[in-house]
Assembly symmetry: C2
Homo-oligomer: 223 residues x 2
């Protein structure tokens, strides 16, 4: 069981996350990767997704988000960067040859920069635009690009099992990103099956369970 | 002069880009990196930013964007992934030690996933929301997060010259991203000076010139 308070690798996660966001926070990606390679890690819980962060946290994570990754004297931030670092330890996550590595990283960055932003925009419009008079117009303007990106991803995937010829950190991030957009994905049976293939991996199941146990609180009590 | 039609490295770029987007397309990032290390490259122009892409282009770039990078038998996409590949050739772009490399990649991914998306959202609201009744409400909802991210970046930078102790692909992408948001950055003198430091590098100037020469057309003539 990779969660081990004495492990030399430490990640940060939130203690309090509202119900709709649980499972979607980015520490899940690191837990999943570490579970895939049986690498123990400890967790530092830093409070709630909203509100003040602990003293000094912006020095570790300049944008105040999770996760931060510490290993001996190295401090890294941004899940994509940390996954490359972890992947370089173990080819089960990231191939060692230049082409395989480059293709896996291309897909991971596509997930972070070409797929997640338009999906995230829709989440923000849904959550922050609730009952606002701009919601419908903004959503109508944002939807076509998000749909196009999902359709193009589905086109590429076709009947492949993974985005390339084997599971990598590219699939790991893409699948975690796609979980935020079940409604948009519904017309694409191959993407639904792809998400199901990813999330039924035992490593994902263990990672999600550990994440949910850590952020079981809706809101922290005021100090 | 790195642009060389016989070079083994080929990148794609657009021939037609509307005036407001020139200089902001992502092939600039690759040209800049390749200029920094005097690595020759050839350019394949694929038509306009809008409209149909050449036959087969989605097999090289599943989302239909630029740039694609080809080198011998390797095809990569997503500027961030290609910059890691190029950086691994030359430590002037990406340190070789695990910590230096990890920090540089953390900043590059922060630029792609924590800074570019909120800035891009504002660009989209400005461009596609023009004269629309939802523009003001959507902009008011999107601004605070974008301002927060810029303020946190400014806090980190402080009086540093670069994001870490030397120029890396993290600065290269961050500076290219920040050029899209001059108005938001105006209150932060250190960020203005940082962008100026980056864009006054001779390699950036050569890259921008080559990019602008390639996309000097506003719109392609209908076939």
């Amino acid at each position: 069981m990779p969660v081990d308070p004495t492990a030399p690798i430490e990640i940060t996660a939130y203690k309090a996350v509202p119900d709709f966001a649980r499972g979607h926070i980015k520490d899940v990606r690191l837990r999943w990767a570490l579970e895939e390679i049986d690498q123990p890690y400890s967790v530092r819980l830093i409070g709630g997704i909203f509100g003040e962060k602990p003293e000094g946290y912006l020095d570790d994570q300049p944008f105040g988000q999770v996760p931060v990754y510490k290993e001996n004297r190295i401090t890294l931030f941004e899940s994509g960067s940390i996954l490359i670092h972890i992947g370089q330890k173990d080819e089960r996550l990231l191939p060692r040859d230049a082409e395989g590595r480059g293709r896996a990283i291309s897909w991971m960055i596509a997930a972070l920069n070409s797929v997640e932003p338009p999906l995230q925009t829709l989440v923000v419009i849904d959550v922050f635009g609730e009952d606002e008079d701009w919601q419908a117009g903004a959503k109508a303007a944002a939807l076509p690009f998000a749909k196009q990106q999902i359709a193009r991803l589905s086109r590429w995937l076709g009947d492949r099992e993974w985005l390339e010829d084997r599971f990598t950190i590219g699939d790991l991030v893409m699948i975690h990103v796609l979980r935020d957009a079940q409604e948009l994905i519904a017309p694409h049976a191959n993407l639904l099956a792809y998400i199901e293939r990813g999330t039924s991996r035992p490593a994902f199941q263990r990672a999600l369970k550990a994440h949910l146990e850590d952020c079981a609180v809706e809101e922290l009590e005021p100090a």
